[in-house]
Amino acid sequence: MLDAFLHYDFLRTALVAGLLSSVLCGVIGTFVVVKRLVFIAGGLAHAAFAGLGLGLYLGFDPRIGAALVAVGGAVAVELLGRSRVHGHDAAIGIVWSVGMAIGIVFLYLTPGYAPSLMTYLFGNILTVRPVDLLILGAVTVLVLGFVLLFYKELVAIAFDEDFARVQGAPVRALMTVLMALVGLSIVQLIQIGGIVLVMALLTVPPLIGLALTRSFFGVLLVATATGAALTLAGLGVSYRFDLPSGPSIVLLGALALGAVAAGGRLRRRRGTLTR
């Protein structure tokens, strides 16, 4: 199997894409989870489909359309007031499905050959092109640079936003940038796992990281490593059993999360028994 990865360019590209995107899953995902943005991220991913459809219909790169919607939407959420948007989960649900509807209509109206809906819904890491790798790499560098430069502020904001604001941290600006990066990451992850699976990619690795380590930086590292391991294993399973790559990755992640949760419960039970 290793031979295959070394011999086929598309597999190698997929491998690199998986490793890079695991940084997005681990780092951006951790902030999405601890700031409770999962549902908002899901809404953005589905709304981005409107941009994809529009791009296809009008003949520009659909990923640009998706990025415009996802980043624009993420920044809009921040500017409208994240906590207020949070409280309006019905509104998120509407944006979610209306975005999908717009995307599907445009896809339907696009004359001639249009990529299948399934590709966008479930992604395909094997179709990643070298040029996509460049963009993915750039987004990864942006995310890493931002988080490392503003690490102490971002951790403080993750824990207690009000306190960070009182201490003079530019919470609004940092959260706006973070939300824009969430939007960019979502568009990148749509390529890997598809719109439907983005939420799992953003949540499973951080949840495993949160379960396994006791430091915030540790969570970022473990989540990223978990993302990488899941992508590799998922690609392997996908190749070996001829299954689609995105669902393979997500299902392995669910298994891993279940194992970690069961392990934690077991350890706690043993702990109470010995005490």
Binding site: V155, Q167, S215
Partner: protein
Amino acid sequence: MSPSTVSPSTVSPSTVNATRSPARGEVVATLDQVSFGYRRDPVLDAVSLEIRQGDYLAVLGPNGGGKSTLLRLLLGLETPWSGTVKIHLPGGTRDIGYVPQFATFDRRLPLSVAETARMGRLGRRPLLQRFRTDDDRATANALERLGLTALAKTPISELSGGQLQRTLIARALAGEPKLLLLDEPAASIDAESKELLQRSLRELQNQIPIVVVTHDLTLFSGDFRQVACLNRKLHYHDRPEIPVAALEEVYGCQVDLLHHLGLGDHHHHNASPRPDAESTSGA
């Protein structure tokens, strides 16, 4: 209440209380005719308040009376509908140590007690700089003060309520604040924490002005130098020896709490009711 009505000159020198508290010094924070609400109805109505050096102010009042909102306005977390909020400290709100209520943060985050307390140094360390050894030193001092040194590496998720509360106070103190605001610091804490909290506030009350929003006055009995009742309007008392029944009737402050404060009939200093000692706001 105009600021002048609460100036030291209105304090009668004959009371025990006046000799106990140092003269009220420079103003560190001002609310002037501040009105604010979250929806259509105001939570605060034309509230004026001065906080001065040497103050140890208790803010009492019913739930929903605007106590936490008053702190949020002082902290710049809310913008008043009308009126002004001014912080007369060189670092602005960075110089304020803020101890929020429990529910406002996520304690499942993987942070140690020391890491959490060190966030109090955020305003002392510019953007793009990492925390340094002097930040760690100030944090260690704050932890020591609250008896948390042995717990420094413990994850906050494993703390008791009292230990967590002390960690939040240590976080506020780590920034070496020039004004301390505490929101219900005594809510559901154990005896050991109560003791430590009381001791550190006793130490601090002679160093920086302190404002405590609280229900549990047992913790602070006799310590406060000023009392304010807040129920949309603020009623400020420069000396706590005020007629308790009047407080309850007029302002809706709970009497049993005031008894704990030592303001009832069994008050330990010459507490003939002095209705002239109180002034009301928003008139």
